[in-house]
Point group: C2
Chain length 245, copies 2
DNA sequence: CGAGTTCTTGACTCGCCTCAATTTGAGTGG
DNA sequence: CCACTCAAATTGAGGCGAGTCAAGAACTCG
């Protein structure tokens, strides 16, 4: 795997028509606080495949994801690279109490970030209890999600894992809104290759491929291309994976 | 599995000679804050096997673990009970933004808790940025740990998983101090049955048992009884599991 | 000491991994 | 536009490790 260097456009952030303004960490801000916040925030575009930060890098900034998908990964003791989790808007990127990042982040699709310099962010953190609460809440949610995923890896067979992952991806990539065939219809681009899917699921590339074919045969998914997926009924897919919504 | 009801002694907490005073959430407290804190804290003894709280219970209090081991568990969509994690002193128990607990907690050994009523704790949380920080830090650490565990479940074969778990348990249960055969020597009581070990590792009871026997044959562990373990060299055990310290 | 539970060990089966051969698709140059 | 190349994905054949089923041993408790 070739590692492309980060290429970033930097723009001033405009909070008023920001996509994550509803439920990002800044959702509760207003007045002076929002002013300060947007003053230090910078928009950054990261093309697909580019690294955002690496395990061990000094922490210089944090970021909210505005659009796109970010993959977090880590190198194990035995030297293998593994995906830890996928992050979607309005997730918060890179928070740590350490001076160095504890995992790597890369753009799985083209990504828009809203970045905040470390010092300024910490200063605001001291001023705003609400910001504290929000970021803590996101962390708690991430912990919940990781635990669920861990349970799934422990129990489920390969077919159910693949079905479960596709269902989760469908939901997070956004169910198609109104005016679609059925309310449970979804269509999305896979942010990961077969190899990465396999890694994330604790399976091999071949097993993943076989199970995708099986899902196709069972009419639970359709592939437009190898990366473009249609899920006619996300609920049915979840049921196939023995998962709750 | 029979569920025993909670049986609790309640005592006033004495912070001055508390075992987790060094690194618990209260570690930075002093003066008035410590006063307030210890005023609302109550010590509670929970015998082995007793439930501390259950998934779905209303959150009425939080707690620090003073001694013993607590197991957190969760019921999946398919109705199976699974262990999420083990918690040791000075871990913090039950924190959530919801009104209901999101998992169950039970005493894996006899447990001493330092409990705080929900309201009072939240009030203090608003007064003390440091308390906020500490509890957040513990949550972050828990997330890190869960991610590591997830990676391990994805990659390792059964033998390595068992070795890894024993190494972790040895470390957390405390390496024997000075005056022991070797600095890496550890001895501890397994807080889980074979069935629970298997669940936690995503294996079957039989596979766990076989691998424990194998570890014995390889001289990496000794069993005094089925639950009492001696690890002559924790480092060697970690190496066997391909894990870093 | 016996009854029940927990743990260990063995024999067999099955699902996932491994290795290998195609097939598909994207990018490039003639 | 098509032929070519290379990477990614699919499909197949076979082996092995962990699960399943079952019997026996060890520990717990009355």
């Amino acid at each position: 795997m070739t590692i492309k260097m980060t290429f970033a456009h930097q723009l001033y952030a405009r909070c008023d028509n920001c996509g994550v303004r509803q439920d990002g960490i800044c959702s509760s801000f207003s007045g002076e606080l929002l002013e300060k916040f947007s003053g230090m925030a910078r928009k950054r575009l990261v093309p697909q495949g580019c690294t955002i930060f690496r395990d061990g890098d000094e922490v210089t900034s944090f970021a909210s994801i505005l659009s796109g998908v970010v993959k977090l990964s880590k190198t194990t003791a035995s030297g293998e690279f593994h995906i830890i989790t996928l992050m979607y808007p309005p997730d918060f990127l890179g928070y740590t109490f350490e001076d160095e990042h504890r995992c790597s982040a890369a753009a799985a699709t083209d990504v828009e970030l809203c970045t905040y310099p470390r010092r300024g962010f910490f200063r605001l953190l001291q001023e705003s209890a609400e910001l504290n609460r929000r970021i803590f809440e996101l962390t708690t949610r991430e912990l919940e999600f990781t635990r669920e995923w861990m349970l799934m890896l422990r129990c489920k067979a390969s077919y159910q894992r693949v079905a479960g992952l596709f269902a989760v991806l469908a939901k997070r990539s956004g169910l198609s809104g109104a005016g679609t065939p059925t309310p449970n219809h979804a269509q999305f681009i896979l942010p990961l290759s077969r190899f990465e899917l396999a890694d994330y699921l604790g399976l091999t590339l071949e097993t993943v491929s076989r199970n995708i074919s099986q899902l196709k045969r069972n009419g639970l998914i359709e592939l437009l291309t190898v990366r473009e997926v249609i899920v006619p009924d996300v609920g049915r897919l979840l049921a196939e994976a023995d998962m709750r919504g």
